[in-house]
Amino acid sequence: MKLTVNGEEHDLAAPTLADLLALLEFEGDWLATAVNGELIARADRASHELRDRDRVEVLSPMQGG
């Protein structure tokens, strides 16, 4: 399944968003996730099924002004 994660192309077998995060070793309760421009809350990651060519964003806190 082709997925774009933070702008990078991946070819992975990740049935759910939680599976994808585990595969790519994203860990921590400070992460926020979106798929195809929609927020996917932490509690919904395990049940959110990914589809071919989904665009996933994984954000974390950063310095800002």
């Binding site: 927020l39 994984v58 974390s60 950063m62 310095q63 800002g64």
Partner: protein
């Protein structure tokens, strides 16, 4: 002290967290500033990366309110999604809403800003909009549900200081009961003092502190001058005159000739 969305704040200085030489310097600057609110951002995390986690811990240890921003967002949808993601990470309804309209000046896209503010307010966010000093836009933002306004005084990071004092003065006069924070463009303590003397409630700074040779000392300097400007406004500032006025009484003056 100012109250933003029902929360009383201990300081009139809000501090950004970007561009500091090290986390230690940032921590010391926050401490010396006495700030009660820091602004933070969200960016892409690298796979397997832990950068965000380290920063998240640092922010939590500061023990201040977190005001996440939507910095760098150029569209309504981008800003709204970023705000929602920030709310989940930081567990706060506060959002510093930026919808940037121009690449060079980083001027707010005020049309997108009003639209995004309305959407976010409708979803329970407490929106701190980074806006221009335009009164009509300010009215629209209040109608959209904002209870705080954050006009720029010069382009972000420019350190130019207040470019349009009459416009800022008019904003204070037109919205006497709305908390007003000058956000962006402050370069030196005298700039901050000048806008506080107009009656603004607070100032949001970043580069002027982070870019100083000694950020912690500069943060302390800003804290003093912001409080001084606020006290002066409430003490009643003398208006300038064209002609001299003797300050020493004429009555009783000796006549020697």
């Amino acid at each position: 002290m100012p109250v933003f969305y029902g929360t009383e704040i201990r300081s009139r200085l809000l501090l950004g967290t970007a561009r500091y030489p090290s986390p230690e310097v940032l921590t010391e600057a926050v401490r010396r500033s006495g700030t009660d609110i820091v602004t933070v951002s969200l960016r892409r995390e690298a796979a397997g990366g832990r950068q965000g986690g380290a920063f998240f811990e640092l922010i939590r240890e500061l023990g201040v309110h977190v005001l996440p921003n939507t910095a760098g967002c150029h569209s309504v949808s981008e800003a709204v999604l970023t705000a929602k993601m920030a709310r989940e990470v930081f567990a706060t309804d506060w959002i510093k809403l930026e919808v940037i309209g121009h690449h060079d000046t980083l001027q707010p896209d005020v049309f997108g800003l009003v639209e995004a503010a309305g959407i976010l307010a409708g979803e329970g966010f407490n929106v701190f909009p980074y806006t221009t000093d335009d009164l009509v836009v300010a009215e629209r933002l209040l109608e959209a549900g904002c209870q705080v306004l954050m006009p720029w005084c010069a382009p972000i990071g420019s350190a130019m200081g207040p470019q349009n004092m009459p416009a800022l003065r008019a904003m204070r006069a037109h919205f006497p009961d709305v908390p007003l924070i000058v956000d962006a463009g402050i370069g030196r303590p005298s700039h901050a003092s000048a806008v506080m003397e107009l009656g603004f409630d607070a100032v949001l700074l970043n580069t002027a502190v982070a870019g100083a040779a000694d950020p912690a000392a500069m943060a302390a300097a800003f804290a003093k001058t912001i409080d001084a400007g606020h006290a002066a406004y409430h003490a009643g500032i003398l208006e300038p005159r064209d002609m001299a006025v003797p300050s020493t009484p004429i009555i009783g003056k000796a006549v020697f000739t």
